[in-house]
C-alpha cells in the first residue's frame, strides 16, 4: 500500500511565527487532504488538494503530484493552531474510490503565547 511520511514529527513555535509541514507519499494519488485534529479528537478538514495550490486565510497548501509531496504553510501562528496535523491520501482502483484514506503519523504542533 501507499506509504505516507510527514515531517517534522514535532514542532514548537512562538505565536506569530511561520511554519511549513511536509507530506511525502510513495505512489500517485487521486485524493490528498490535510486535517487538523483538535484536543477533543475532531478531525477538521483544512484542504482537499490532490494537486495545485490553495489558500484559506493564514493557511495555504501546495501539492506537487508529479514529485509526490505536499506542503502545508501556516503563517502568523496562533495558540489555537496547536494540535496534530495529518496528511492523508487515497488512490482509487479502476476509477472507483474504496474509501481508504491512508494517513501519515502526523505533526504535533505546539504554539506558545
Amino acid at each position: 500500500g501507499i506509504q505516507v511520511e510527514q515531517s517534522p514529527p514535532d514542532l514548537i513555535l512562538q505565536e506569530g511565527a511561520n511554519s511549513t509541514l511536509r507530506c511525502n507519499f510513495s505512489d500517485s494519488v487521486n485524493n490528498l487532504q490535510w486535517f487538523h485534529q483538535n484536543p477533543w479528537g475532531q478531525l477538521i478538514n483544512l484542504f482537499y488538494i490532490p494537486s495545485g495550490t490553495k489558500q484559506n486565510g493564514r493557511l495555504s497548501a501546495t501539492t506537487v503530484a508529479t514529485e509526490r509531496y505536499s506542503l502545508l504553510y501556516i503563517s502568523s501562528s496562533q495558540t489555537t493552531d496547536s494540535g496534530v496535523y495529518f496528511c492523508a491520501v487515497e488512490r482509487w482502483a479502476g476509477g472507483t474510490s474504496y474509501g481508504k484514506l491512508t494517513f501519515g503519523q502526523g505533526t504535533i504542533l505546539t504554539v506558545h503565547p
Binding site: N31, Y48, S97, Y98, G99, L101, T102
Partner: protein, 113 residues
C-alpha cells in the same frame, strides 16, 4: 447543514462485550467510511460502505462488522471486545468521486476495561 454525526460520544465496555456505534453522513453523501485511531497514531481504515454495500475493508478481524441503511446512516459493530479495541472510532462521509474530500465526525471514544 448538519455535518457528520456520531453517537455515542463516549462509551465504556467490559472485555468480551459487544458494542454498536452509529454514524449519520452529510445529507446527500452516499458513502460512509469507518476508521480506528489509537493513541499516538493516525486513523486506520476499517470499512467503506456505498449504497448499502461494503466496498472496502481494512486489515481488521471478523469481530468488526458494519452495515449501511437506506438513509445512508451506518452502524459499526464490534464483538468480543478486547482491551486493544480501546480507541477513537471515526466515521467519515464523502461526496461522489472527484467532487471533494472526506468529512469526519467527532468520533466515539471507546474504552474497554
Amino acid at each position: 447543514d448538519a455535518g457528520v454525526t456520531q453517537s455515542p460520544t463516549h462509551l465504556i465496555k467490559t472485555r468480551g462485550q459487544h458494542v454498536t456505534l452509529r454514524c449519520s453522513p452529510i445529507s446527500g453523501h452516499k458513502s460512509v467510511s469507518w476508521y480506528q485511531q489509537v493513541l499516538g497514531q493516525g486513523p486506520q481504515f476499517i470499512f467503506q460502505y456505498y449504497e448499502k454495500e461494503e466496498r472496502g475493508r481494512g486489515n481488521f478481524p471478523d469481530r468488526f462488522s458494519a452495515r449501511q441503511f437506506p438513509n445512508y446512516s451506518s452502524e459499526l459493530n464490534v464483538n468480543a471486545l478486547l482491551l486493544g479495541d480501546s480507541a477513537l472510532y471515526l466515521c467519515a462521509s464523502s461526496p461522489p468521486v472527484g467532487r471533494g474530500g472526506y468529512t469526519f465526525g467527532s468520533g466515539t471514544r471507546l474504552t474497554v476495561v
